[in-house]
Symmetry: C2
Subunit: 442 residues, 2 copies
Amino acid sequence: MNTADLGLPVDVPSTALFTDQYELTMLQAALRSGTAERRSVFEVFTRRLPEGRRYGVVAGTGRVLDAVENFRFDETILGFLRERGILDDRTLDWLAGYRFRGDIWGYPEGEVYFPGSPIMRVEGTFAEAVLLETVILSILNHDSAVAAAASRMAVAAGDRPLIEMGARRTHELAAVAASRSAYVGGFHSTSDLAAGFRYNIPTVGTSAHSFTLLHDSERDAFRAQVDALGSGTTLLVDTFDVTEAVRTAVEVAGPGLGAVRIDSGDLLLLAHRVRQQLDELGARDTRIVVTSDLDEYAIASLAAAPVDAYGVGTQLVTGSGHPTCSMVYKLVARADSDAANAPLRPVAKKSMGGKASLGGRKWSARRLDEHGVAEAEVVGTGPVPAEFAERQLAVPLVRGGEVVAREPLDAARERHIAARAGLPMSAMQLSRGEAVLPTEQA
Amino acid sequence: MNTADLGLPVDVPSTALFTDQYELTMLQAALRSGTAERRSVFEVFTRRLPEGRRYGVVAGTGRVLDAVENFRFDETILGFLRERGILDDRTLDWLAGYRFRGDIWGYPEGEVYFPGSPIMRVEGTFAEAVLLETVILSILNHDSAVAAAASRMAVAAGDRPLIEMGARRTHELAAVAASRSAYVGGFHSTSDLAAGFRYNIPTVGTSAHSFTLLHDSERDAFRAQVDALGSGTTLLVDTFDVTEAVRTAVEVAGPGLGAVRIDSGDLLLLAHRVRQQLDELGARDTRIVVTSDLDEYAIASLAAAPVDAYGVGTQLVTGSGHPTCSMVYKLVARADSDAANAPLRPVAKKSMGGKASLGGRKWSARRLDEHGVAEAEVVGTGPVPAEFAERQLAVPLVRGGEVVAREPLDAARERHIAARAGLPMSAMQLSRGEAVLPTEQA
């Protein structure tokens, strides 16, 4: 096992601990009742997008594949479970030999989704598939929430680069996954070294107010930074007085100064003022980077301002108001017996309090209008109509327990750009509204 | 190094990667300008509580101590930094020998805090202290956000136990920290095996709708579960028809059935109806557990309902609307030279856009009224007045690089109960309002 493939910047013995206890007690009961080996189909989907959002973004798929591959109950974990007295010996023995040997299909990473989209489908015995519920949902719910926010910010930013700098606002390892998701959603770089280490995302960074305050004068601080990092560096100009700082910055670094960063105040006003000042000082190529609690709306409001790059932290890693998706993992079909050829029967919880689900294994495709623009997410349980046969949204991810869909992160990033471009124009609106595609039952 | 102490259920070579790149480039520049060894004081504080919240809860302190202790640049990390070309050789050499040798003071875990409270103070050379910014903020911002939500839920739940079950709604490792923070804030157990493994938090779990749907009838499913787990188990009764399920559950398990769980529908109505039915069936001791997107308000609304326990997921791990705190890590004082006895000079960013901070190393204490109830958070930079000398809020956490404040998680949990009990009654109101204590500058 290559632990560097676990989606973490750390060594992990197994992802099997990322499991809710009831999955194991259900396993024990199913082993006892003789239903554990019934062939089962679980699907990941969401009943709704976050309020006002036009589309969702699938992210975390690559991390799910790593997690499934490394989902093993080693002696440490088994010892813990034994000590707790949660499970009987038969169940512990079964877990000792566990590895997922079934199939997983799903929307490829970066694809967009809508309410009811069958985002991922896990097929295997009940026993092997039920155990993956928590880890799959953890990853997809977190990563997709961040990617959705990132995508909206990328739309708002247009051609200007976005820097992810939210590590300090979320759990230290969630931050690494957030950087990854932000990259899928359209960000360009990260301040987080762990994300650079693990996912090879470009890393950037300049200085904080503390660096200026450490020195006896702002000029000393700027000189120290330029001496150490070159005139291409980014100087932080809002520790005391912005106008004075910009003047000092160009004096110290020369007109070849890489960039200045503004981290507080009226960014719109300051960007215009600083641009004018830089131009007057001959620093026409010096870029302006803005940071300071930006979200997609703040980014959009700076579209007409002379801003060259945005650094985004809190609102990115917290999904801009929606820190999690509401994806669920539901049994939609299962066999009546554990015979290998037993037919699958659709199953579903009865409607109650809005938690109904549609039984049956699903296919899905995006119906296009005559201009090639998506007009509906079509989801069906029967045979796939000929017009959609070659254009199903789900692709094979795992076959017989073997991962078959590894890809570089850039592939997901490019796929997202293409998928978003295939949506109606209204998808790019930041204003609240309905899902931009209706989901139709075929 | 005991990797089990890292706050993760996994082996980690070092926490030093959980760092924003600018901390390293600032280090390089400070080494070059000769300011790196200036004695410096950084403080963690927040300018505001989340809107409407009455108090904050410090959580994650124990994880910060683990992170600081294991913050080392091993050859893998140094090789990565070297390859990226981010740093010069002198800086890389410096990092190779890094370990934090300074002092850390802070509010003990579980304590409450207010805007301006000096939650943590890191003292050392600029070089050694600046590097800890991101990892300290990541941990405190995430964990304290979850603990604050947990505390409000615990107030709403009164004597009824709260079960943390949000792992599927957040990053798989953030989930482990969230369970820990929920426990500090007043939760009783978790569904997350990793949290049980790592922090010895009691784990619980029963079954999902999929388990019922796997079987040929609800009765078969209940029988399977009771056979495997005993009649003390919790049966999920809302897959089809609740009334019928409750009848079947008691028939199968007998009146000694442990509990039933309701996961959808009108919980208030259903709880009353199910209680009455259970009583009529002689299952007077069978408990009712409710789950389904609960938050502190939903919990409070069920106060008069015959509910025995609450399971909380999404809203807990996402901080009930506030998934992060706004804690910052600011240089508040530093020496003018690197002489060991150089006096500390207060420093602060100039006010602009609300990001001003108060310079100088701070002490704090809680002023009590004649009944022993807290009436103000007093924060000062000068000598500590005699009345507060013995009652400062901050305690030593690290001395000369050695952790001096390890404690069991239960100590933090009990401290939080006591700290909350010392606040004015209005702290327990769930309604939006101002911080329940004013912060006064002494």
